[in-house]
């Protein structure tokens, strides 16, 4: 994977066929799990905190629904161009943020299904077939996330 172009409008990455297929496949899996509510505070249990927490979870659920609507559009065929046998993936600044959120949701939710291990590099031989699927999703999402961000950093 290579960052080919970075402008104020967005990014263009060069992917090999396998990466392009994996990215399309992965993004189409979102969301992997049902929405799980979060705590707004670790110390505040007053009535206003309870109210805030309900609003926060409502808003996060709506946000996730919005990500779901956007997910398929992110990897539509017109986002990938083939030139000299290479795949070029084009993404705007805003769309890349959406993509990062989707990838990280897949990564974190997969990790949760695996039982939130302290070391995400679990022993794969002890995993059931179903859990191995989540392990694979977690690793794959991490691969793209890491490269999307590090390629940018390398360029400065």
């Amino acid at each position: 994977m290579k960052l080919v172009k970075q402008t104020q409008k967005g990014f263009q990455y060069e992917l090999d066929q396998e990466d392009a297929d994996s990215l399309r496949f992965l993004v189409k899996q979102f969301p992997l799990t049902a929405f799980s509510p979060v705590d707004i505070s670790k110390t505040d249990s007053g009535s206003s905190a309870v109210e805030r927490e309900a609003l926060l979870n409502e808003s996060l659920q709506a946000h996730r629904d919005d990500l779901k609507r956007k997910a398929r559009r992110l990897v539509l065929p017109d986002k990938f161009k083939t030139l000299d046998g290479k795949q070029f993936f084009q993404v705007s600044l805003g769309a890349r943020e959406t993509l990062l959120q989707i990838l990280n949701d897949i990564r974190v939710e997969s990790w949760r299904v695996l039982g939130e291990p302290e070391d995400p590099d679990v022993n794969i031989f002890g995993l059931s077939k179903d859990k191995f699927k989540y392990y694979h999703f977690m690793r794959l999402a991490g691969y793209f996330e890491y490269h999307f961000l590090n390629l940018e950093e390398e360029r400065g």
Binding site: V38, S41, L60, Q101, R107, Y146, L149
Partner: protein
């Protein structure tokens, strides 16, 4: 003794336009980000830069604090803004909460 060029308040009376005493009463919250073993350091730094508009150096400092100390206080804000930041951080799947500052 108050200076002649500065406004002063008579005890027990409210000076029109002076909201300082109200500000003191309004509760404030720390927006805290908690460590987890799954989010990449580069991702956490990126999210801090995006949400707070921080320079990389500041974002990395807070990211390292999360990583090494288990948590970092990112900002101290009134309820509404703290709530907004928690929502933003959680939408990136970072573990963030708001804790009463006093």
């Amino acid at each position: 003794m108050p200076s002649l060029t500065e406004p002063f308040a008579v005890p027990g009376r409210t000076v029109k336009g002076d909201t300082r005493s109200e500000d003191r009463l309004a509760p404030t919250y720390y927006v805290v980000c908690w460590n987890d073993p799954v989010n990449f350091m580069v991702y956490v730094t990126h999210v801090f830069m995006k949400i707070f508009g921080w320079e990389r150096q500041k974002a990395e400092k807070h990211m390292m604090e999360v990583h090494e100390k288990g948590k970092s206080i990112l900002v101290r804000e009134g309820a509404e803004k703290a709530e907004f930041y928690v929502q933003q951080l959680q939408s990136y799947k970072l573990q963030a909460t708001m804790e009463p500052a006093e």
